[in-house]
Symmetry: C2
Subunit: 147 residues, 2 copies
DNA sequence: ATATTAAAAGACCAAAAGGTCTTTTAATAT
DNA sequence: ATATTAAAAGACCTTTTGGTCTTTTAATAT
């Protein structure tokens, strides 16, 4: 559904939040291992997330990644949008036409509610809400489970 | 939602069916123009569809592409699956875990019905049913309308 | 027979996605 | 001050996807 970068980003953000709840501030190495993503690529992605303002970081001893608690919760949609645009949850998805509400292809009317559901899903779920939900079973959900 | 090859393939198949209804047998050039896809790439994709048995063709004068009327209608799902596998309509889509019915992540239960709807959509709609639906407005739906 | 037409085959190229690695910069503990 | 630690920056590489083009093969009309 989403590309690898988005996947790793979402997993990484949820993991950071999960650790933050415990008062910890994980680093790249730990995060990469725990979310089962390539080490250097994870570093690159986390950096991008920091630059985009989704995440904070500090260098040096005791450094790592954490969230600014003053900022509002982060909907999955905003992360997805920042990384890969809105192609995943907008558009007809069949390439037969650009879906609008005036001009409909026969797939449009069937796909419209699906698209709306996806949009709702990624809008309502946040990194924080997922971390909350995941707290009973974090190892099962994040660790060593691919794609 | 789907990759370019799948998009062009679906558009191409629907266009061929649309012409076949009129008793015509279009060639690569015509198809590429009408579905607004790159000429040579369209040729390559059509060849692949023929090799996979979705479509028939004849070379030489009066040649072109057509469907074997003895074969059953072609669900979109079978074309999609043949080209890009089932990644588009199976799996959790969030990469947080592999979705199964035993082991659920909190997104799973929300995403499951969406995935099921997508599966239903591509299973129930066929190249032939789309061509039937498209017959009132073919130019609007296929021609010169990108992605 | 042969000229013409059109698909098949396959080599080749470009861009994007995914991933690796080294060097630089900035914290902090001593 | 300086040694150590860890993120930032960015160069570089690989694979996949998307796309182009030439040559070969097979029909058919004359």
């Amino acid at each position: 559904m989403f590309n690898k970068e988005t996947e790793y980003a979402l997993r990484g953000l949820v993991y950071v939040q999960l650790q933050q709840i415990k008062g910890l501030k994980p680093g790249i190495k730990e995060i990469a291992i725990e979310i089962d993503a390539p080490l250097f690529y994870t570093g690159k992605i986390l950096q991008r997330l920091v630059k985009m303002g989704f995440l904070q970081s500090t260098k040096g001893k005791g450094g790592g990644f954490y969230f600014d608690l003053n900022k509002p919760d982060v909907p999955l949609k905003s992360v997805i949008h920042a990384i890969e645009g809105d192609k995943a949850y907008t558009g007809c998805g069949f390439g037969l036409k650009s879906c609008s509400d005036e001009q409909q292809c026969s797939l449009h009317s069937q796909y419209a509610p699906i698209r709306a559901s996806i949009d709702k899903l990624v809008s309502e779920n946040t990194v924080q809400s997922l971390a909350r939900d995941f707290n009973r079973g974090e190892d099962i959900l994040l660790k060593r489970l691919k794609s």
